[in-house]
C-alpha cells in the first residue's frame, strides 16, 4: 500500500524524524489558512505547494488543464491562492503517471526549507528497502540528492553507498555515523544526521515499510537534517497489525475495478489486452497470461480466484472482467486439486446462467480431479462455452477466438 507524502510525513514525526512541516489542504480556503500559519511559524513569506498523488516526478510534471507544475514555490498569499486553485482538481501528468495523469484531490502547503544561513545547503538521497538476496534491510544513500536515483546508479555508481542492517542487532551507531561521514557532514549537521538515520530506520521497521525513500534528504543552512519529500510504501501483509495505518488507504488512487475485485477477495490486476482470464493460483495465472500472448492475444487482466473457485467467485470474476469493453474472449483456467473440477464446472454454468447475455466466447479449461466429468457437464449444458482439458488445447481455442 502506498501513502501520500503528507501521510508519510505525519507518521515519520511520530518517530522523531524531522520533516518539512506543512498542512494537507483540499480547498483554496484551507490553503490560505495553512499559508498564514506557516508564515507566522517560520517568519518567512515563502511556502511550497505540492500536489499529493501516488506518483513521482511531480515537480517536473504539469497539470493537463493549465500547464502549471505539480510543485510550486510561492512568496505571497496571492501566489498560494493561484497555485491551489490551479492544482486542486486538476489532472497531473508526470513521467510516472502515464499520459492519462492523476486527479489531484489534496495539496500539501509546506514550509520553504531553502532559506539562507551560515552554512551551505545540501541535498542528499537516502532510502531503506529489503535486499531480497541477502534477506536483510539495506540503507541506500548518496550525496547526489534531489535527482532520479536510477540515473545516479547508472551514470555514477561509485556515488551510491549501501549499509546492510543485521536483523538481530538492528542498526548500530557506527553504521549511522558511517552514513553521516560518507555524506560529508560534520559538527551539528553530523549529529543531526546520525539521529535522523537512526530514527528513520526505527520508523521503517516499526511501520513495516516495504520501502521508505527520502529524496531529497536535506541539510538546511542552519545544519538541520530534514525530510523534504518522502515516499513510503507499506508491506500489505503487515497491515493487520497496523489498523491505524491501514485506514490511510486512498482508494481514489487505485483502479476502481481492482478495488471492487478486492471486495470479493479476488486478486485482480487490470491490463490493456483483449483476452480476459480467470485462474486459480498466482503462478498459473501469470503463466496463463503468457500463454494468451503466445496464442496471438493480449491478456486483459491478471485474476487469481484462489483455492475455492465456486459459482459466487466465478460470477464476480465474470462481472469484473466484462466491465472492460476491450475484452473479446475469456479463458477460465482451473487446475482442480483439492477442489473438484465438476464442482467448478457447475459453478461456471450457474454463473453463466445468472448473468444471462454473455456475447463473447468463453473458454473453460478444467484439469485435475474429475476433469472428464467437468468437460461433459460443460459440453452438455447447451451454453456457448468451449471446453478443454489440456493447456495446449486451451491455447488453440484462444488462438481461434482472437483470429
Amino acid at each position: 500500500m502506498n501513502l501520500h507524502e503528507y501521510q508519510a510525513k505525519e507518521l515519520l514525526k511520530k518517530y522523531n524524524v524531522p520533516v518539512q512541516e506543512g498542512f494537507a489542504c483540499s480547498t483554496v480556503q484551507e490553503a490560505e489558512e495553512a499559508y498564514r500559519q506557516i508564515k507566522t511559524q517560520s517568519g518567512s513569506k515563502f511556502a511550497v505547494v505540492k500536489a499529493q498523488i501516488h506518483a513521482g516526478g511531480r515537480g517536473k510534471g504539469a497539470i493537463k488543464e493549465n500547464g502549471i507544475n505539480g510543485v510550486k514555490v510561492g512568496k505571497s498569499l496571492e501566489d498560494i491562492q493561484e497555485f491551489a486553485q490551479k492544482i486542486l482538481g486538476g489532472t497531473l501528468v508526470t513521467v510516472q503517471t502515464g499520459p492519462a495523469g492523476k486527479v489531484v484531490n489534496k495539496i500539501l502547503v509546506a514550509q520553504d526549507m531553502y532559506y539562507d544561513g551560515a552554512s551551505e545547503r545540501k541535498e542528499f538521497y537516502l532510502s531503506i528497502l529489503l535486499d531480497r538476496s541477502k534477506g536483510q534491510n539495506v540503507i541506500m544513500y548518496s550525496t547526489e540528492g534531489g535527482m532520479n536515483i536510477e540515473d545516479v546508479a547508472h551514470d555514477t555508481p561509485e556515488k551510491i553507498f549501501k549499509e546492510w542492517v543485521h536483523p538481530g542487532g538492528g542498526l548500530q551507531g557506527f553504521q549511522a555515523r558511517k552514513i553521516a561521514f560518507n555524506l560529508g557532514l560534520s559538527g551539528e549537521a553530523f549529529k543531526n544526521c546520525v539521529k535522523f538515520v537512526t530514527n528513520l530506520y526505527n520508523a521503517y521497521v516499526g511501520l513495516d515499510c516495504a520501502m521508505l525513500e527520502i529524496n531529497p534528504l536535506f541539510k538546511a543552512s542552519d545544519d538541520k537534517i530534514i525530510a523534504v519529500d518522502c515516499k513510503m510504501s507499506l508491506d500489505d501483509n503487515s497491515l493487520m497489525r497496523h489498523p491505524d495505518v491501514a485506514a490511510l488507504r486512498d482508494i481514489t488512487e487505485e483502479d476502481p475495478t481492482e478495488v471492487e475485485a478486492g471486495k470479493y477477495n479476488l486478486n485482480f490486476v487490470k491490463l490493456d489486452g483483449n483476452v480476459g482470464c480467470m485462474v486459480n493460483g498466482a503462478g498459473l495465472a501469470m503463466a496463463t497470461m503468457d500463454m494468451i500472448k503466445l496464442s496471438g492475444g493480449e491478456p486483459a487482466n491478471f485474476l487469481d480466484v484462489g483455492g475455492t473457485a465456486n459459482a459466487q467467485t466465478v460470477e464476480a470474476g465474470f462481472k469484473i472482467i466484462m466491465k472492460d469493453p476491450a475484452v473479446k474472449a475469456i479463458l477460465i483456467n482451473i487446475f482442480g486439486g483439492i477442489v473438484r473440477c465438476d464442482r467448478v464446472a457447475a459453478g461456471v454454468i450457474d454463473a453463466y446462467k445468472n448473468l444471462g447475455n454473455i456475447n463473447i466466447p468463453i473458454i473453460v479449461r478444467l484439469q485435475g480431479t474429475n476433469a472428464e466429468e467437468a468437460k461433459k457437464l460443460i459440453d452438455e449444458s447447451g451454453l456457448k462455452v468451449q471446453s478443454a482439458i489440456l493447456l495446449s488445447e486451451a491455447a488453440d481455442l484462444v488462438k481461434k477466438a482472437v483470429a
Binding site: 534477506g135 491490463l271 503462478g283
Partner: protein, 291 residues
C-alpha cells in the same frame, strides 16, 4: 534415498486442530504420510485425528520423535511457529502460510542461521515425494511416481507441470514448492542442488516467476556444476507489467534483471531447456530425455 521427505519421515502438524490443519492433515494421512502428532497451544493432552496434540513443538518432538513439521498457523503467528520448530530441533520445517509480514521473515531467516533447520516456504504448496510422503496441500494423485524432480515458486503451476510430466509418460521423484514470497527458506538454487545430488532423480523441472534473482543464481550454479542433469525451465510473468505485484508477494518486476525475459535468457545461456509456453513443459522434458 529421496529428497527431503520419504516413507520414514515423521511429520508433526503446527496449527493441527484448526480448519486448514485438520483438512490437510487428513489428506496427508490418506496419502500415507506418517503424521505422528500435532501442536496447538492450550490443547495439549487431547487427541485429534487419532493423533496426540501437544502444547509445544518441543513436547511433541520429545514424545513422538517427529523430524519434519508442517505449519498451518495464521500469518500473524507463523514466524513464531517456524522459530519454535527450529528451536525444538526439527530438521525440516514446511511453512504453507501465505501473508507473513516481510520483516517477520527477515528475523526468521536470521534466526535459522544459528540452527540446523531447513525451511521450505512460506507461501508454498509443500513437498511431496511421489508415492511415499506428502507434506503439503497438493493433490497427491497428480504426482505419479518417477524420476523427474520439480522445483517451483508456484502451487498450481507445480501441479500443471507434474500432470504434463505424467502425460508425457514420465513421473515425479520429489516436487519442492519453494514459495512465492520475497524471503523464503530454501531458494531455487538450494532446491535444485538437492535434486542434482539425488540418485533417484534423472532430470529437473525448474519453474520460476518474475521478481528477485533466485533463478539466475540457480542457473549459474547449474552451469558451474557442469549441467549434470537436464533441466527444463519456465518463468511465469512474461506479460506482467513492471512495478505491479502479481498475486504472490515476491512476484514484482523491480528492475531490468528480474523480468521473465532476463531470467529466461540467463537460464538458456546456462544450458537450461527453457520453454516459452507453460503448455510445453511435459513435452519438452520428454524430448530432452529422448535425445
Amino acid at each position: 534415498m529421496s529428497v527431503l521427505v520419504n516413507k520414514s519421515s515423521k511429520i508433526l502438524v503446527q496449527g493441527f486442530t484448526g480448519t486448514e490443519g485438520t483438512f490437510h492433515a487428513t489428506q496427508m494421512i490418506e496419502y500415507g504420510t506418517n503424521v505422528v502428532g500435532g501442536v496447538t497451544p492450550n490443547k495439549g493432552g487431547t487427541t485429534h485425528l487419532d493423533r496426540p496434540v501437544f502444547n509445544t513443538v518441543a513436547d511433541c518432538v520429545k514424545a513422538t520423535g517427529a523430524d519434519v513439521s508442517i505449519i498451518f498457523v495464521p500469518p500473524a503467528f507463523a514466524a513464531d511457529a517456524i522459530m519454535e520448530a527450529a528451536d525444538a530441533g526439527v530438521g525440516l520445517v514446511v511453512c504453507i502460510t501465505e501473508g507473513i509480514p516481510v520483516q517477520d521473515m527477515v528475523r526468521v531467516k536470521s534466526f535459522l542461521q544459528s540452527t540446523k533447520t531447513r525451511l521450505i516456504g512460506p507461501n508454498c504448496p509443500g513437498v511431496i515425494t511421489a508415492g511415499e510422503c506428502k507434506v503439503g496441500i497438493m493433490p497427491g494423485f497428480v504426482f505419479k511416481t518417477g524420476r523427474i524432480g520439480i522445483v517451483s515458486k508456484s502451487g498450481t503451476l507445480t501441479y500443471e507441470a507434474a500432470d504434463q510430466v505424467a502425460k508425457a509418460g514420465l513421473g515425479i521423484s520429489t516436487a519442492i514448492g519453494i514459495g512465492g514470497d520475497p524471503i523464503i527458506g530454501t531458494p531455487t538454487k538450494e532446491a535444485v542442488e538437492l535434486l542434482m545430488n539425488d540418485p533417484e532423480t534423472d532430470a529437473i523441472v525448474m519453474i520460476g516467476e518474475i521478481g528477485g534473482g533466485m533463478e539466475a543464481e540457480a542457473a549459474n550454479w547449474i552451469k558451474a556444476d557442469g549441467n549434470r542433469k537436464p533441466v527444463v525451465g519456465f518463468i511465469a510473468g512474461q506479460t506482467a507489467p513492471p512495478g505491479r505485484r502479481m498475486g504472490h508477494a515476491g512476484a514484482i518486476v523491480g528492475g531490468a534483471d528480474d523480468t521473465a525475459e532476463a531470467k529466461m535468457k540467463i537460464m538458456s545461456e546456462c544450458g537450461i531447456h527453457v520453454v516459452n509456453s507453460p503448455a510445453d513443459i511435459g513435452k519438452k522434458m520428454a524430448e530432452v530425455l529422448n535425445k
